[in-house]
Symmetry: C2
Subunit: 533 residues, 2 copies
């Protein structure tokens, strides 16, 4: 394949008519070939119209057809071969191994969703059969399932050029649900976006789906992003990125004449709580695990551990010492783009200047380089200071963290109470400690989407049981995950059919259960056909 | 029991300190004894604080405990006996039979939810077990279920003094989910509110639950309603009522520092489409069914059929004639309160004055009466006029409807295309007609939450398969129902546990499956314990 700098609109590759630019390689700060283009508002409108036309046709596909399409998307992405890995690496500064790992994650995700929808779980099928003899009133036959919500706009994230981008989790879950997708690609990795869009375009064609099922548009969030969110035919938005970006979309969508849901995952500081027995037993191994989690991908993860909370015990000193030793070995890291590197330097400089905050450990210094390199840093602050300064809870995107030292258990609970909503909350502990800390666990469960015990928060498994989301401001809607098969639920809405002729019902709702799905029938869960005993 | 005019706040009955008023009997326009009181902002704050304290304790109750509580609520409501029925009847103008039917619906709803939660379906349990040998990375054990979202504010509706009020669908689903409830009772039926709150208070005490699990506050929506929605401890809002009221709450909730979901069911015109073969076969019986649905409860239902759409055929004339004959027998009806009656008169007067709209049938005239009586009315308009005047799509709450006459199939499809989001869409048809009208069905499925065939939209069954909601502006969030057991999903959010010690996991997630729930384990649905083959 060749990168052309074009957009995929209504199944056709078109040069964007709103200007050109080049991607910048973060490792060298040099522009990459070829020239890319920005879509115009008219091009956005054409893509939206195609998605609207495709919506009922795509909604009418069977689970098997959609699964085959998702599988084909994975196949076509793999078929892009090394060109994709090299472009991802060039555009993000990630090593090729990371690009390869992320490609595997992306394709496995598409295949998992293909397998998952065929179980029909996400359809949430419910059947209540007629009770013609019921007094005082007969009960009609009523059958319920989820149907696609309509065209979905997906905003790609900078930090996952594959797994949260053009064919990432949001796209995969919307397509799995049967919704056409309009991707606003991230301008940090436009070539990677285009290559993946080429793969999806091939899959759309091979599966003979309507052209409007998938479009790729590049441009600024403020311009074409707003245009997409405000288009009346668009019915939901998926976003992963900053708090400011997510909230701008959220407000825009809620102020439409017809408000639509925005699923914005906006990151968090992912507190890691170190309990004393655990530190007594394994301060050094916890320190090593922490440093690995903190510095993975130069810390550019939504689930990066940005706050560590611990009691002021002798073992904590041991943890700090071991962390400092491990961190000292970590080379300066290339960040995704110049604004992110600049924000990291600004954020850590501001942290260091706050009263009571001290730098206790850091990675290797930034060598002479043309790229967007930064240094890993660990700060320390007393809990009383942390509690008095809300600023210290703000996420600094990248490989920095703040250790909050508590003088006693009450202070530790006060710190957890003061936390805003989080994607994750981690506890390093012994089983006995966890059993004794019911109050801490209760508190943490009110704050987070995922509780992690004796692991670290990085490494978000793509599976049925993953909850990647959490109370505001981690996400705009705590009731949904953006990773794992439960993410499909964001892009469907229920409809029920009352007294509908059996033969004309959608197949998943028919008595015979031709697709063999698990259903809730008169309050009982069963995969049997109706009438079978 | 005695009606005292007090509020239930933190388990104590308190006189509201923000003024007094009396309920008005709509049948006579006379005030009812005793004097009622309005809650102050300080009293609201006390109730919210109690709910916040109760939240983690109530969340920790078992499904069996919560089910017993819901059952007890139903028992205590029944134990109120005739006093409740008489007060409901006096405050609403509904006949005692309607009050009795609604009480049955309310108590059956509580009992259905009690039964439903014990199946654990609403928990959406998902378990992915560890894969320590997986390459390149081991998979940790991850377990997911829904937990209560926190304190919920419920706004009672005027038109269902029991089933959508203090212990109605919103309250029942929030309590079933494990969320404390703060009810803002409707000022049209404050005595009924207080009696039901007395029953729920008894149930809270009998089940030894924290006092803050349930509070009742009376006052204006603008004052204490806003106060409740803006309280930081409140995590969701349930509302049934007008578009203006629902949108005011929606905007308020979205502009909080922490936005929260508002589930506002705001009504709709519930189009009824009459296809020609059905009219040929049974114009008269369709007319009778339509008039019964239109005039039930003086038309004061969210699902009242406010628009009828049909082709201009000879059989349509027969339908209009039969409708006129049936409607002529319908007495003027008492409406719930003076503003609703006034809005009905204003709305129908405005309809009648629109160019091209004619009155084709009406109920009996309003006799000399002191009460809030109005007359049923059916208007007629050409589809071309309807399409040109968006005003004609606005709901007039009560027993009026607009027949839209289409000259051909294309015009009929254009009318359906022009419809806003609806709770329901009804088709009167033969099976052959329905089979031939795939395009119409596809269109209608994009517009509604419930498709009704050869029934009428009134009569919203409380069951697992009910979807009572729909695309905006029928509701603020089309992904949820406010009737039936699926309504519980509004008040929970998922959380997952990674690498959590088995013995300390919440019971529904433990290997042994001690409550015997259906779970998704490694992609397979099963009620077996883990490890059992």
């Amino acid at each position: 394949m060749t990168i052309t700098g074009q957009q995929l609109i209504n199944g056709k590759w078109q040069a964007g008519t709103a200007g050109t630019y080049q991607a910048i390689a973060p490792a060298t700060a040099q522009p990459l070939q070829p020239e890319m283009s920005y879509a115009s508002k008219a091009q956005v409108a054409e893509a939206v119209q195609a998605a609207q036309l495709a919506a009922p046709l795509f909604a009418a596909t069977s689970l098997t057809q959609r699964a085959a399409f998702l599988e084909r998307c994975a196949d076509e992405i793999m078929a892009l071969g090394d060109e994709l890995l090299e472009r991802v690496s060039a555009e993000t500064g990630y090593p090729k191994g990371r690009a390869e790992g992320e490609r595997a994650r992306t394709c496995n995700q598409l295949r998992l969703f293909a397998a998952s929808i065929q179980s029909g779980e996400y359809l949430n099928i419910r059947i209540d059969t007629a009770l013609p003899e019921r007094q005082p009133l007969a009960r009609p036959d009523i059958r319920f399932f989820n149907q696609p919500i309509g065209p979905v706009v997906v905003f790609g994230a900078s930090n996952f050029p594959l797994a949260f981008s053009v064919a990432g989790g949001d796209t995969a879950s919307a397509l799995a649900a049967g919704c056409p997708v309009l991707v606003k690609g991230h301008n940090s990795h436009p070539g990677s976006c285009e290559l993946v869009a080429q793969a999806l375009h091939k899959a759309v064609q091979a599966c003979e789906l309507p052209a409007g099922v998938f479009s790729l548009l590049m441009g600024s969030g403020r311009e074409i992003g707003s245009e997409l969110v405000l288009a009346p035919a668009v019915k939901a938005v998926g976003f992963t990125g900053s708090f400011a970006g997510g909230m701008a979309l959220f407000k825009l969508a809620n102020n439409r004449p017809e408000p639509i849901p925005v699923f914005a995952e906006m990151g968090s500081v992912n507190p890691v709580i170190l309990l004393p027995q655990a530190l007594q037993q394994r301060a050094e191994s916890i320190a090593k695990g922490f440093v690995a989690s903190l510095t993975l991908g130069t810390g550019q993860f939504c689930v990066n551990p940005g706050v560590v909370i611990a009691l002021n015990t002798p073992e904590l000193a041991e943890f700090v010492q071991a962390t400092a030793a491990a961190l000292a070995e970590i080379p300066a890291g290339v960040m995704l783009n110049e604004p992110i590197a600049a924000a990291y330097v600004k954020g850590t400089t501001e942290l260091a200047s706050q009263p009571g905050v001290s730098l206790v450990a850091s990675g290797k210094e930034v060598a002479e380089t043309a790229g967007f390199c930064t240094q890993a840093q660990l700060f320390q602050v007393a809990a009383s200071t942390f509690l008095a300064n809300e600023h210290l809870q703000e996420e600094v995107f990248g490989h920095s963290s703040v250790l909050v030292v508590c003088e006693n258990k009450a202070e530790l609970l006060a710190v957890v109470t003061a936390l805003k909503g989080q994607l994750t909350g981690t506890i390093q502990c012994t089983d006995a400690e966890l059993a004794a800390e019911a109050e801490l666990v209760t508190l943490l469960r009110q704050k987070v989407g995922r509780v992690v015990i004796n692991n670290f928060p990085t490494g978000v498994e793509v599976c049925d049981a993953m909850m990647h989301g959490g109370p505001f401001p981690a996400a705009t809607d705590a009731r949904f995950t953006s990773v794992g098969t439960a993410a499909i639920a964001r892009f469907v809405r229920p409809i029920c059919f009352q007294n509908y002729p059996q033969a004309l019902l959608p197949e998943p709702l028919q008595d015979a259960n031709p697709w063999g799905l698990s259903r809730l029938v008169n309050g009982q869960r069963t995969a049997a056909a109706l009438g079978d005993a």
